[in-house]
């Protein structure tokens, strides 16, 4: 792929695939940072019933998964892991007691993962006991220490988040001064732009947020009461989901005006909720020093060797021996139809949206009140109405300057919460790209015989045996996973990479076991004994060229009643051959007086239209 990119080839594609990172937004706004502040008190290490992992163990698993996903998806982000309520202390100036900075704020690397692995499971608990221990708690000191971590960072931080993991709703055993100090420090942090979240875990007797933590955490974004009513996390998945939902700062790909016409404009942010994660491109290194090497591309004149500036070059394409030359600006201008934005065309019922009209992953829009005030209200009204009437909005979409338009369907989605009161689907419109005429290819359908009810029923049994509940995050990308395992092995000098579990491979044995004799039964119903679907196709039976030929082949296969009825309804029985019609009559036990085609047709029509 990389080679093909030369010579400005696929320039458009690149631009289109680049997302928020390219907008310059990312570079200017700095890096995201996340501090895990984990309670290391004795309570955290108590095992759950029935061998459930302790809260501490669960937290560590969760932290690990965030670390690995950060390495894969956003390796520039900074992460820190800090324990409080420890016996030992370890922090930059060792000015705080009972605060143990396990990882300072930094972009996570392979070593960090290894460090966390040490804290997992039964052994992890012992290791934690040995290195840190459990001691007194002062959340105030812990928060203060965290704020120092932030201020020690020289890089510009765009988004600062701190997550507190604890199962104790009351920290200082009634020590008002300590409570006060914690509150003050939390307020200080919040003032510097740090968002504090509470990831509270199960506690016998229930976790009462209002006792203490309600004053510590940041108010929820939307000022509704929802934020604090959340149940504590019981399961690892819940915790992971909740952490994951907060861990990434949602950043819009772009902000656009959404014009309803006649100057009625609202502002929306465009978000990418799903984007194909690809293996990052390789970095060139100097062989001797392993220093990263940059590439510089220069253009120079072939004859005089002078460096060519952008102005000294033009763009050209050759068609039918004729070279057509344009300025770079003109090449861009050709793609310009209008200013960026969404323009409403009208509305259509949802059933007009075809499942198979898919050309690109969808985007998501949400109102931007900071750009045009009143957007949210207008947006909500549209959302409610569209969803009530089961409609989608058809819009013309131009994502950025000098980009040709595409039509998109805005599909309404109302907010839904899952059992643990976490947002399962956010409110907003999905932006579904619609194909133009050019994007739809003419496919010659293969027309063949169809299955009988009996055959379909057998397949239904098979389907039933192999049913499962699909979840969109159930499959990991084996290519990516393998790549990172390889890197991990190389980085950590392991002998060989840890094997991955390829979830995309069918679990053949399990499937066979579940199916039992069904597979054979189905094959007996549809395949003749000598048929081998895996072999080369049998020599084509030579039949008439088309149309009639296909019908003749059906002679071998019994027609389903439904199919025949179809023919009756459409008066197309005449298209079938006499043998097929005869077979059909036999199948239904119809006595025929003659064997002429019309007679057979009449008899079948009589029988089937009853």
């Amino acid at each position: 792929m990389a080679e093909r990119r030369e010579y400005y080839q696929n320039e458009d594609d690149e631009v289109e695939e680049d997302e928020e990172d390219s907008g310059g937004d990312y570079k200017i706004s700095g890096r995201d940072s996340l501090v895990f502040l984990v309670d290391a008190s004795k309570e955290m290490f108590i095992k759950g019933e029935d061998g459930e992992p302790s809260n501490f163990d669960m937290t560590m698993q969760c932290v690990r998964s965030v670390y690995t996903s950060k390495i894969i998806s956003s390796d520039k982000d900074l992460v820190a892991l800090v324990f409080y309520g420890t016996e030992q202390s370890k922090n930059p100036r060792n000015s705080f007691k009972h605060v143990y900075v396990y990882h300072d704020l930094d972009s996570p690397g392979s070593q960090c993962i290894l460090d966390i692995d040490k804290l997992l499971g039964e052994k992890g608990a012992q290791f934690a006991e040995k290195t840190m221990g459990s001691g007194e708690t002062s959340l105030g000191d812990a928060l203060w220490c965290c704020s120092n971590l932030y201020s020690d960072i020289k890089l510009r931080l765009s988004h600062k988040r701190l997550m507190i993991f604890t199962c104790r709703d009351e920290h200082h055993g009634g020590d008002g001064a300590k409570d006060r100090q914690a509150r003050t420090k939390a307020a200080d942090l919040k003032e510097t732009g740090v968002v504090i979240d509470l990831m509270h875990l199960t506690k016998p007797g229930g976790f009462d947020v209002s006792l203490f933590f309600c004053d510590i955490v940041s108010p929820p974004e939307d000022e509704s009461e929802l934020g604090l009513q959340i149940e504590p996390c019981r399961k690892l998945e819940d915790l992971q989901k909740r952490v994951r939902a907060k861990e990434l700062k949602k950043r819009s790909q772009s902000r656009l005006t959404f014009s309803l016409g006649e100057g009625v404009n609202l502002a929306v942010g465009v978000y990418v909720l799903a984007r194909t994660a690809t293996k990052p491109s390789a970095v060139k290194l100097h062989r001797d020093t392993n220093e990263p090497v940059r590439t510089k591309t220069r253009y120079f004149h072939a004859h005089n060797g002078g460096i060519l500036l952008p102005n000294d070059m033009k763009r050209a394409q050759v068609y039918g021996k004729k070279q057509i030359v344009m300025e770079k600006d003109e090449v861009d201008e050709i793609k310009k139809f209008d200013d960026p934005g969404l323009v409403l065309m009208g509305f259509k019922p949802m059933d007009r949206l075809k499942l198979h009209h898919h050309i690109r992953p969808a985007l998501f829009i949400y109102p931007e009140e900071e750009q045009i005030s009143g957007s949210s209200c207008m947006f909500t009204a549209l959302l409610l109405n569209c969803s009530e009437k089961n409609l989608f909005a058809l819009c013309r979409y131009i994502p950025r300057r000098n980009t040709p338009p595409r039509f998109v369907a805005l599909v309404p989605q109302r907010e839904e919460l899952d059992q643990s009161q976490t947002q399962a689907t956010p409110p907003g419109f999905h932006v579904i790209f619609l194909p133009f005429a050019d994007d739809i290819r003419t496919v010659d359908a293969h027309v063949g015989p169809t299955a009988s009810d009996e055959q379909v029923d057998k397949m239904k049994e098979i389907v039933h045996k192999l049913r499962f509940k699909y979840k969109s995050d159930a499959f990991e990308n084996p290519v990516l996973q393998q790549h990172y395992r390889n890197l991990e092995a190389l980085a950590l000098n392991m002998l060989e990479p840890e094997p991955i579990e390829d979830l995309t491979m069918p679990k053949v044995q399990m499937m066979d076991a579940r199916l039992g004799p069904l597979a054979q039964e189905f094959k007996d119903l549809v395949y003749p004994p000598d048929y081998n679907p895996e072999g080369k196709p049998a020599a084509k039976r030579k039949t008439a060229e088309s149309g009639g030929g296909a019908a003749e082949k059906k002679a071998k296969v019994e027609m389903s009643e439904e199919e025949l009825k179809n023919h009756v309804a459409k008066c197309t029985l005449g298209k079938l051959t006499v043998p097929v019609l005869k077979d059909a009559c036999k199948q239904f036990g119809i006595r025929t007086t003659g064997t002429k085609k019309q007679e057979l047709i009449d008899a079948l029509t009589m029988h089937l239209s009853k």
Binding site: A277, A282, L285, S373, Y470
Partner: protein
């Protein structure tokens, strides 16, 4: 090795084609445009199909069959060839109305003869004849059966383009995905001549005998063709067949074939770089060099580089060989069922990838057809979908996707769409909307939007109560191609002209339908009054030089320069300190505790001091100082002049610039617009001419460029 098609465009140029109703374009012009656009598309899409052009109704006669007064006034203008620019130019200049009439059936025979002759010994995937005529000529039908027969034998397909629709009914389009003809504007039978009525019958006769009931779908009107060039699709490239096995468990296998049914069509040709004067590609050489990220940008030979990958904060050296050896290996193409699930569960998930694949049973394998049919029907009746592992071939990455059942009147298939991997998903949480009191729309607002939606429905009921979609996106050709071809064509023919504007019809295609626009006026006004929408004025926009210089009141972007005394300590100042020299300087000038002269001297001193330290913070501070100087300078031009201090102060500035070159330069970027020398235009007393200022600026810009490269 896709074998191209062969196509003959057969156009009526007879005199009746030039007739037209008042206010309407003559058929000749319309037909010419159709041909022009078609050929344009063929040329620029670099379609390999060969195209011939036959004209009938011409004054002269030139064809291989002309003999004894037969096949007269029919001209083979161009034999089969790949369409090129020349053909485009010829159509533009040489395609003129003729003064004769010729039998269109005769013309058809000439075309068939041409096709047969030219394709002799070569194998073409498709043979097609496109007839553009108004049918307004006496035709002898006695040979019709023979003609139809030989068309069938030679497997030649036909398309007709007429000025009027073949019948008034709007046929529902076939499978819902292929574009079909749209509703015709004129009813047939009205105002048609006897010959036309008769001709139309013959057209129907031919088309139905060629393609049975679908034949009439290949008869179009000129206006249809102009609006929707996509109807030329049938001569477009066919998707490649992808034969594979669908497997369920280890023992159940069905032979299948997949086709890309929907995928984003991209512009195929890229732009080459040519030298601006010579327009020669070879005059431009491209060179890529590798260099270390140090101050000297030390160059490194390509052979001395190895590849590595980022793993979080680490970069792991990982050679190409190792990578290939250790990477994930897929065991070839597959379409393996992992399990079955409810369709609704899959529909909630985002679809990934850029295509939809239609999966059929292997061609001519009736057993596979039955087996696949059983699966399709089972899934359809259970409202379930198959989750499959899909790999195109050994080299490609495996995907997980869903196969949905699709049962159409004429065929059945599975529709495969890629689903996301866990790594692809980003779970964002958005603030509540509908239960948020701040944003909750009122009843009247909701009903205003409700009325707006009703007025803007793009699906309408026709006389028969059938819903008709008035804005089918999948019938609109991608305007990007049309525009590109238009510009290329224009530039090819007129190399020195500026690019033409977007064609009006193309723009119109992208607009809201007029009827809808008209209908929604009132509801839209209502919405406008009921919803207060106000653009929020940003307080902190990125500054341009105009902002900075045009408005002296503005504070500096990063280091604010408070100009109002009340903002800070009113305690009298006597000296420009080092902590906040700008503020001190401003205060001194306002408070007049020291002379302006002295204040300036003190600030200059501070700038020199600051530049002595080579750290970005100090650097920024000094920039701010210079800025303050300039602001106050322009503001207090009068004082500058009278005190005569200006020149000495400004003279200090070039030295500052020299210093800047050596200090950390990355920040210069942010200030590029803000920092120029005070030129004569701004301050009368300045000894710097505009040229001087510009000179320094140019040097500055080039510095920024290098520093930019270095730091970004």
């Amino acid at each position: 090795d896709v074998r191209p098609g062969a196509l003959v465009l057969c156009m009526d140029v007879g005199f009746s084609m030039s007739n037209s109703e008042p206010g309407q374009e003559p058929s000749f012009e319309q037909a010419k445009k159709v041909i022009q656009k078609f050929v344009q598309r063929q040329v620029f899409a670099e379609n390999k199909d060969e195209v011939g052009l036959v004209l009938f109704g011409t004054d002269g006669t030139k064809n291989g069959l002309a003999e004894d007064g037969q096949y007269e006034n029919i001209t083979v203008h161009r034999r089969l060839m790949m369409p090129d620019f020349e053909l485009l130019e010829e159509i533009e200049s040489k395609l003129q109305p003729g003064g004769q009439q010729a039998d269109w059936l005769d013309a058809l025979v000439v075309c068939m003869d041409l096709l047969q002759e030219e394709t002799m010994g070569k194998k073409f995937e498709r043979l097609n004849i496109v007839l553009l005529t108004d049918l307004n000529v006496q035709t002898s039908a006695d040979q019709l059966d023979v003609i139809i027969d030989s068309l069938k034998k030679a497997r030649i397909t036909l398309q007709f383009f007429l000025p009027f629709p073949v019948d008034g009914e709007d046929r529902a389009d076939g499978g819902g995905d292929g574009p079909g003809p749209s509703a015709a504007p004129v009813r047939p039978g009205k105002g048609l001549s006897r010959q036309q009525t008769q001709g139309l019958e013959m057209v129907k006769n031919i088309m139905t005998s060629l393609e049975e009931e679908d034949g009439l779908e290949e008869v179009y009107t000129f206006s249809d063709a102009l609006q929707k060039l996509s109807i030329f699709k049938r001569i477009d490239r066919r998707p490649m067949a992808w034969p594979c096995h669908l497997t369920i468990g280890s023992s159940l296998t069905i032979r299948i074939v997949g086709y890309k049914a929907v995928t984003e069509e991209k512009v195929k040709k890229s732009w080459a770089i040519v030298e601006a004067q010579s327009h020669q590609r070879d005059d431009v050489k491209r060179e890529t060099v590798y260099c270390l990220d140090d101050d000297n940008e030390t160059e490194v030979q390509k052979d001395d580089t190895i590849q590595g990958f980022r793993y979080g904060s680490d970069i792991v050296p990982f050679s190409k060989v190792d990578e290939d050896q250790m990477k994930y290996k897929s065991d070839g193409k597959c379409f393996s069922v992992l399990g079955f699930t409810k369709q609704e569960l899959v529909r909630c998930s985002p679809f990934m990838g850029s295509q939809v694949v239609k999966v059929f049973a292997a061609r001519d394998d009736e057993h596979a057809a039955v087996a696949l049919s059983a699966l399709i029907r089972a899934l359809d009746s259970l409202k379930m979908a198959a989750i499959v592992r899909y790999a195109y071939d050994r080299r490609s990455n495996p995907q997980v996707g869903a196969a949905f059942p699709c049962i159409k009147e004429k065929y059945e298939c599975l529709l495969y769409v890629q689903l996301p991997f866990m790594e692809d998903l980003r779970q964002f949480t958005f603030p509540v909307l509908e239960n948020n009191k701040k944003f909750k729309p009122s009843e009247s607002q909701l009903s205003a939007v409700d009325a707006l939606i009703d007025s803007m429905m793009l699906v309408e009921k026709d006389e028969d109560g059938e819903s008709v979609d008035v804005f089918k996106v999948n019938h609109i050709p991608n305007p990007q191609f049309q525009r590109l071809f238009q510009c290329l064509h224009h530039r090819g023919v007129n190399p020195d002209d500026p690019l033409p504007p977007v064609e009006p019809w193309l723009k119109r295609d992208l607009e809201r339908p007029q009827a809808v626009s008209a209908r929604c006026q009132t509801p839209l006004q209502d919405v406008k009054t009921k919803f207060p929408l106000k653009v929020v004025v940003k307080k902190k926009e990125q500054k341009t030089s105009a902002d900075v210089f045009g408005n002296q009141e503005h504070a500096f972007t990063l280091t604010s320069i408070p100009c109002e005394v009340s903002h800070f300590n009113r305690r009298s100042l006597f000296q420009v300190g080092s902590v906040n020299p700008v503020r001190d300087f401003c205060t001194l000038i306002r408070q007049k505790t020291v002379s302006f002269d002295q204040a300036c001297q003190q600030l200059t001193h501070r700038i020199e001091q600051l530049l002595g330290n080579r750290s970005p913070e100090y650097y920024m501070k000094s920039i701010a100082c210079i800025q303050a100087f300039r602001d106050q300078g322009a503001f207090l031009t009068g004082i500058f002049r009278s005190s005569g201090i200006c020149s000495s102060k400004v003279k200090n500035r070039p030295s500052a610039h020299v210093e800047l070159k050596t200090s950390c330069l990355q920040h210069a970027l942010l200030f590029s617009d803000a920092l120029t020398l005070i030129s004569k235009d701004e301050v009368d007393g300045s000894t710097f001419s505009k040229q001087d200022a510009n000179q320094v600026l140019t040097a500055f810009y080039s510095l920024q460029l290098t520093s930019f490269k270095k730091f970004v």
